[in-house]
């Protein structure tokens, strides 16, 4: 399988503090890659480095074939991103949000129009086209935010705790969207705190104190750790953490 994300000894230090400690991993095309870890384990820092928001202190990383240190502009063109904070504009209408992000990613006018109709159809949002985003229920907003993050058909989409605060039914629907995107060949890089969601991933990595402690398919991980659920796997690994929750 072709690799869309590759890192080798990727490290980020903030002063004396090593947030990310020489991690190496690879993610293949169309894979749903779960990136787990307790708060403060360094997940967000890794994600920020991969997105070109933060420069690594040392190590190499390539995303979509581009070096994250020197070619961050090209990296940015090929990725989508959905932050854990709600990242759409509340005072813009649904179609205006789509239009804006299409414009930002340099899509052609005609493409934007077609894609908007298609996206709204897929979401079943046609009637909300002219609704201000702020008046949508949270679950809908999250689904819309995901659609916006893959609106420009990126090679990889980074989802930072995308389902925080969303009810189980909507989470389920959200994961259906993720599967649909993965089927189209978009690689999904997702962080989450919900261990049932970890089970949905093709492969899962678990970060503890800036290092990747485990990386495999959920099934293999459960076998290795002789656990019944991903939750149990996570608990065992995370208990070793020396960094406190909110340091």
């Amino acid at each position: 399988m072709e690799k869309v994300i590759k890192t080798e000894k990727l490290t980020k230090k903030f002063g004396d503090f090593t947030a990310v400690d020489a991690i190496s991993f690879e993610v293949g095309t169309g894979e749903i890659f779960g990136f787990l870890g307790a708060n403060g384990a360094g997940k967000t820092t890794v994600m920020r480095m991969l997105c070109g928001l933060s420069h690594p202190t040392s190590g190499i990383g390539t995303v979509a074939g581009f070096d994250i240190f020197h070619q961050s502009e090209s990296v940015k063109k090929n990725i989508g991103y959905m932050s854990q904070k709600f990242s759409l504009y509340n005072d813009l209408k649904v179609w205006e949000n789509l239009r804006l992000f299409g414009g930002i990613y340099g899509m052609k006018e005609i493409e934007i129009v077609e894609k908007t109709t298609k996206t709204l159809q897929e979401l079943g949002f046609e009637s909300e086209r002219n609704t201000l985003v702020k008046s949508l229920p949270l679950g809908w907003k999250q689904k819309l935010a995901f659609s916006v993050s893959i609106f420009h058909e990126p090679k990889i989409v980074f989802l930072d705790e995308p389902t925080g605060g969303v009810d189980p039914v909507t989470r389920r629907q959200f994961w259906e969207l993720i599967y649909a995107a993965a089927t189209r060949g978009i690689t999904i890089f997702v962080t989450t705190h919900y261990m049932d969601e970890a089970e949905y991933c093709n492969r899962v990595s678990i970060m503890v104190d800036g290092k990747i402690e485990a990386l495999d398919t959920p099934r293999n991980l459960k076998n290795t750790f002789d656990a019944v659920s991903m939750d149990e796997v996570f608990q065992r690994l995370a208990r070793k953490a020396k960094r406190s929750d909110n340091y």
Binding site: S54, Y81, F86, L100
Partner: protein
Amino acid sequence: MKQFLSFVKKEFYHIFRDRRTILILLVMPVIQIILFGFAITTEVKDTPIAVLNPVKDDASRQIVERLAASEYFTLVSEANRVEDIEKALQKGEIKLAVVFYPDNILHTGEAAVQIIVDATDPNQANIFANYATNIISQWAIENQWNNSQLKIVPQIKMLYNPQMKGAYNFVPGVMGLILMLICAMMTSVSIVREKEMGTMETLLVSPVKPIYIILAKITPYFVLSIVNLTTILLLSVFVLGVPVAGNLWLLILLSLIFILSTLSIGLFISNVVSTQVAAMLISGMALMMPTMLLSGIIYPIESMPEILQWLSCILPVRWYIAAVRALMIQGVDFIFVVKEFAILTGMALVLLGVSLKRFNVRLNN
């Protein structure tokens, strides 16, 4: 370019969909200029006065008539006893009283007139007293009273603002204040809002260059500042009757430089704070208060303690207001405002440079 335009469009949506923002941006300047121009005024107009005139000869009567007829004063009562006057002053019914003492001026050539002023507000009191004195001496001159003596009568000429209108003083100040408020406060708040909401991160992950994000955030406020500048100038010329005595284009150029510098201040604030409330407080307290107090809008800079005078030098708005006064009211040539132009341009460039640099530094962490 297309990216940039979609950004600017979005920024305008933000502004026009928020009623408070639009109120602050477009309505407040109009209200401020009208308030400052009409309501808050140090002009003397229709001040209530009383006279105590037991003499009741021609001379004193003529003086009373003059006082009553002047637009500065309104005669509210003709008292009979000194106590009445005291009471009226205490009650605040009158601000000034003129008392004639019973000597017949026309016959003896001597007279005593006392002017009693409520000096709770000393500046105002001085102005009242001066006006009253002027009216009385004017009468004296016209009636050739005292003509036996050689008298030097100073002819006072009020330059640039012959009618002594308060608006002449306030318009440049309000221009500085409003542009400062819109550019610095609104820009910083709108950028920090994106940080707070988390949308800034989404934008930074996108291939749009950060400098374009910032430029796109600034552009609408730049445009609206120009709208405001136009509104203020039109209002001051046609409503307040303050003409633009100097070169209009020079005034506009000056304002654009000032707008640039305050936009940079807003940008800088947005770099150092991370919440909208903090941005409001900093631009409100740290910018508006010094602007109001130190830039010569309310108190003349020349009469401040030296240390405050020095402090006022670091405020761009001080130089802007000084130059607007010179250009708009005095109508001077460019050569007389070169210093202000140079200082403002320098400040704008330094501020812009520093804030853009900080923005980039913050990104790389």
